[in-house]
């Protein structure tokens, strides 16, 4: 069982977290977004081997954050609160 670092609470058991999707999957706004682009936003995922940037939520405090981890070794490389690039 992995230990994930919540930017607010510190290291906690993975059972307290939910996966929230790929980080950097920016939402294209508008009713006329090209359909391929919209389908990509909805369904296309990188599924990288190795380093992956992912959104996770710490269920017990409600914090969404970006975590970089290695999908092969399960090593956690970094974690940071949301904001900046994702905020409007």
């Amino acid at each position: 069982m992995q230990l994930f670092p919540c930017p607010f609470c510190g290291p906690r058991d993975e059972t307290e977290f939910h996966y929230g999707g790929d980080a950097g999957n920016a939402r294209p706004d508008g009713a006329d977004v090209p359909i391929d682009r919209w389908a990509g936003y909805l369904y296309l995922r990188g599924n990288p081997k190795g380093s992956a940037h992912e959104i996770w939520v710490h269920m017990t405090c409600g914090e969404f954050f970006v975590m970089e981890r290695d999908t092969v070794t399960h090593k956690v490389l970094s974690s940071a609160a949301l904001g900046g690039e994702h905020a409007a």
């Binding site: 069982m1 992995q2 230990l3 993975e14 939910h18 929230g20 939402r27 294209p28 706004d29 508008g30 009713a31 977004v33 359909i35 919209w38 936003y41 909805l42 959104i55 939520v57 409600g62 914090e63 969404f64 399960h74 949301l82 904001g83 994702h86 905020a87 409007a88």
Partner: protein
Amino acid sequence: MTASRLTTGGSAIDRSRPIRFNFDGTTVQGFAGDTIASALLANDVAVVGRSFKYHRPRGIWGAGVEEPNALVDVGGPQATPNTRATTEPARDGLVAKSVNATPNALADRNAFLDRFSRFIPAAFYYKTFMWPDWHMFEPRIRAMAGLGKVDTDWTSPGTADQINHHCDVLVVGAGPAGLAAARMAAGAGLSVTLVDDQRNPGGSLGHRAGEIDGKPAAVWIEETVAELAAGGHLILPSTTAFGIYDHNLVGLNQRHLDRRRDTLWRVRPRQIVLATGAIERPLPFANNDLPGILSADAALAYLRRHAVLVGRRIVVATNNDSAYEVASALAEAGADVTLVDIRRDGTPDTPAKVRLVKGRALAAANGKLRVGGVTLDDGTRLDADCVLVSGGCTPTIHLFGQAKGKLTWSEARAAFLPGDPVDGISVAGAAAGAVSLSEVFAGSEKAVASLGQTKAAVPRSTGPEATGGMAAAWPLPGSKGRIWIDYQNDVTVKDIELAARENFVSVEHLKRYTTLGMATDQGKTSNLPGLALMAGITGRTVPEVGTTTYRPPFTPVPLASFAGARVGELMAPVRRLPLENVHRSSGAVFQEYGGWLRPAHYGGRDADAERAIQDEALRARKSVALFDGSTLGKIEVIGPKAAEFVDFLYYNTMSTLKPGRCRYGFMLSENGVVFDDGVLVRLDEHRFVVSCSSSHVTAVHARLEEWRQDRFGRDAVYIHNATSEMATLTVSGPNARKLLEAVGLGLSLDDAALPHMTVGHGSYAGNEVRVTRVSFTGDRSYEISIRADRAEPLWAQLRQAGQAFEAVLIGLEALMILRAEKGFIVIGKDTDGTTLPHDLGSEGPRTKRQTEYVGRRSLFTEEASRNNRMQLVGLTVPQGEAPLPTGAHGIKRENGKLHSQGFVTSSYQSPTLGRPIALGLIERGATRHGETIEIQHLGKVRKAMIAAPCAFDPAGDRLNA
């Protein structure tokens, strides 16, 4: 008598505390400190079970977790099937039964199977019972094969505790290596947890000779343990470290000698020291599975720990030095001992009173139900009532392997040893290939060296040192006779040869084809000989063949340990209403709805339930109904961007809502599908209440948080889920207003002051109340929200004032009828994972909204614009007919075939209309009102008329009546 209890000795047993237990219907006597196995041996019980496939008689092989044969089903409060007799403490009054034997191990009625063994090799069942259908044969085959039985009548006497634990260093194994490492780590000022699966610490020092720091081993063990305990370190005996998981989480299962369930420990250490020892391997010779053939090391353990002499005329067969101490000790204890060593040269001195035969191996064991002698490879026959074998030691590297540690092959040790270190894990002692105590202690020092300077000295071995002197003796292809590799799964040399002929040469294929290394012992004694044989057959080296993947658990762990307290009602706890007890005293019948325990109806159990529900719904329309709607979502959205935020989250434009007003709307998923519906209340300019459906509160809250943090920023919007802070009591019906006026809520209920879809504020008994005029019944309704802990007097007052109006308490079932009469939907019941808002008749925002909202783009795809989408409709059947079955399909006939064109989503008998009503999703349904459609369910076809969803008061007059 051959095996027997000696009159003195036995470090583990307490002769002042005799015990009696039952094995296969006979009474066995022993002492406190015995295992079931040691007591059985002391009573000379040789046959303790039957093998998995051939029903061969099987005796005790080992003295610990590696035991492949001696499995028993233990009954009583701590019932455990398939437990190892070698680790199970013998308790007074315990009842144990041999496995896979009918009626008992000695006289098994399926023993005839062994005579047909050459017809049932590996994979026999796969190949033979394929035609016509494996499932025809499976029940009888399963009844004859397999191991222990679960007692299905048994109920747990309690739940297992689960403990989360942190320490600097976790030492697994309290043998010499573990004790030394623990002591040195403690001396470096670190917190240490020491676990061992035996009842007493010491590991091999409990039965092997040793002198440490000039003291007998037993004294050194006692002093070391006392020192650790005095230092506040945690020592857990009878505890197995069964798994290492991601980020070095270690799972421990602790057994208790009293009647408590096991305890599961989740340990997060900074450093793990694996001092898990090694397991002795068998030697290959014909009939090497006969009862009376034991591991030599186990025989020494039984002698020194339990004062059990395993035989009178003993042959000890070995390929290494470790058996010499065994032979010597048994001879000293009075047995007649012949030591057969495959090595010609380089053997240790012949022990006193022992006959030594050099350069010879066993060819076969002789005997039927138990061993009666052996034949050497030169044809010499020796009588024996017990045969001990030592095929060398296999380091216990399972945990290291689980942690993805790489193994390296040691030709000198004829074993896999831990290779490159894994972060946070070190290995010491016999697990790392050490043989002598000096090597062991040097390994312990190295294992903790990186943890800092220690004040504890490295222990010194001051007595005679163990030597290895290993000469490999692997099973060879083409060997004569039936040579067992895996005792537990009845895998012989011939089965592995067969697997190789059929090209199952990869270890993972070999395992699955022959079952080598499966089941409760996971091949602790058999894996390496099996791999070595496959290497020999295919002309590869052992490391080229490789090992199968190491996976937890190391030994079986009761599921009760993993379940812990999460059983019964706690498995998935229901959410409860603040007024639950009040409803109970009103005769409410409770059911779980979307995680909430709610009144389904009041009174009328079983057969009378339907009548009670119909009565509630009818009376609700006549005068006034009281309903507990506390589960309704009450999620507050607050802040300068709150209006912009709810606009984005809802399909409907919400920012145009005036303070004090409410609006019904949909939330969509990004794929356009309707996710939730509900009412949004605008309390003031910057404050809204999202009144989502009861079962979606958690999901809606999570969704709001995600968009808030990801798109709007933490300072722009604040979200607070107040759902369980407040109770919501609903008053609905033509007399709802009169009833509330009689109660008095401190606000004007005049329709001009508080029209439909508005919110007002009042007070009751000094507590603020929020009164929302929204309606899920179609009748004039008021939802009154009040602090949950102050709701009870208000509910009582509503009921008392209600008497004058013949008010009725209604449960969720009646509410479902009332809302269906109105065509009001329940998301997830009247919609599915494809339903878009315009399928439900809500076209406006899709065609008119210019601002962005969740799911918007998905409403303009080819799929969303298809002209034959399923749309929400009402379905009418003639008066006097039964309601349509929910889930029944609307069908069309094309070229003689039936095709589905949608289905019934909700269906009830309407007491008010006196006929059945139904809602459904039907292809192009919105344009087909008045059309008759065939509805099919389980082969029966009925007719229904497509209608508007609303079957009652379509003009909505009753909202203000």
